[in-house]
Subunit: 192 residues, 2 copies
């Protein structure tokens, strides 16, 4: 019987280490120790810490509410609000620590690592497009109070949320998220 | 005659190094080298790299448009928009690199360093309060199209901008900033 690969353990450990400590603040040694695998096994599976960062980002995005929610039967604005609510609840349950791995990696690495930058860019584009699409559906159904263009609002809300998450991490309180929802509800007339 | 202190050189070098490379990605050695001073002189002036990070943040805030602009004779909404325009122009001139040192430090260090977190929190609070105050003045003059509460909008805009800066750094384009101004103008009816 072949030995089970330690690859998934390495990805899990990296997700946790990068998210709690940051990319430059943890080493391959930290990650293999956290994974409980020999350091030597790392390079059997990944060309570099950078390559593992890209894979951690992909996993993070795959597991996010933007990829996992099956809510097509609900009204579009409620679907959009629900996604932000899930992200709020996750952040609250963690005591406002860690923030968003996508925003963290983007901030720390966008100028330094082309592959990580591309992955962060793709993740944010996915969320922007999904937001724009839900806003467009809401407008079609006459649910949208604002006259603002969904094509502008989608990425704006996505970016605003990243800033809100940073502020939440800095202030260790729900206030920035509460303000986000207050603006969201006034702007869109949602009250779910 | 006493020798000139190398303290200001260390602060300048730290500002540049932290901003271009991040906190954990540069060492005291990198900073003293960039400052052109002996490594041994560092601890004559700073207890730690952490202490220097706090001082770099204070300098960054002191030099920002939020502290240096004397524009009390202009209408409040034009004053507010101008501050974001200045930040946009700085980011554009840098080829969309670096981002905001406050947001960078907050993202990288809020969970790891109490003193840096406090300084980031103070900087963001200052900008939020200034934004709220200008929105309140705008409302008093009947300049504000939206009914949203300036107390909520001030911090929301401050946080949104931080997310916009991260997106700009990630995408290396002005698009996120253009979207921010489009929302700003529609929300407030400003068109300066």
């Amino acid at each position: 019987m072949p030995r089970p690969s330690v690859r998934p353990q390495l990805v899990e450990a990296a997700l946790d280490q990068f998210h709690t400590r940051g990319f430059h603040n943890c080493s391959v040694d930290d990650i293999t120790k956290a994974a409980g695998v020999p350091k030597g096994s790392f390079y059997n599976h990944f060309a570099s810490k950078d390559a593992l960062a890209v894979e951690a980002l992909q996993q993070y995005q795959q597991r996010s509410v933007w990829r996992t929610t099956d809510d097509a039967d609900r009204p579009p604005l409620a679907r959009l609000r629900y996604r932000f609510e899930v992200m709020r609840d996750v952040l609250t349950d963690r005591g406002y620590t860690r923030g968003c791995l996508i925003g963290n990696m983007g901030t720390e690495l966008a100028d330094l690592n082309v592959a990580v930058r591309a992955e962060v860019q793709a993740s944010l584009a996915y969320r922007s497009t999904a937001t724009t699409e839900l806003l467009r559906l809401a407008r079609e159904r006459g649910e949208l109070a604002t006259h603002l263009d969904p094509e502008v609002l989608g990425p704006f809300l996505t970016n605003a949320w990243e800033g809100v998450v940073t502020r939440t991490k800095v202030c260790k309180s729900a206030q920035a998220m509460d303000e986000f929802f207050a603006v969201f509800d006034q702007l869109f007339g949602a009250n779910s």
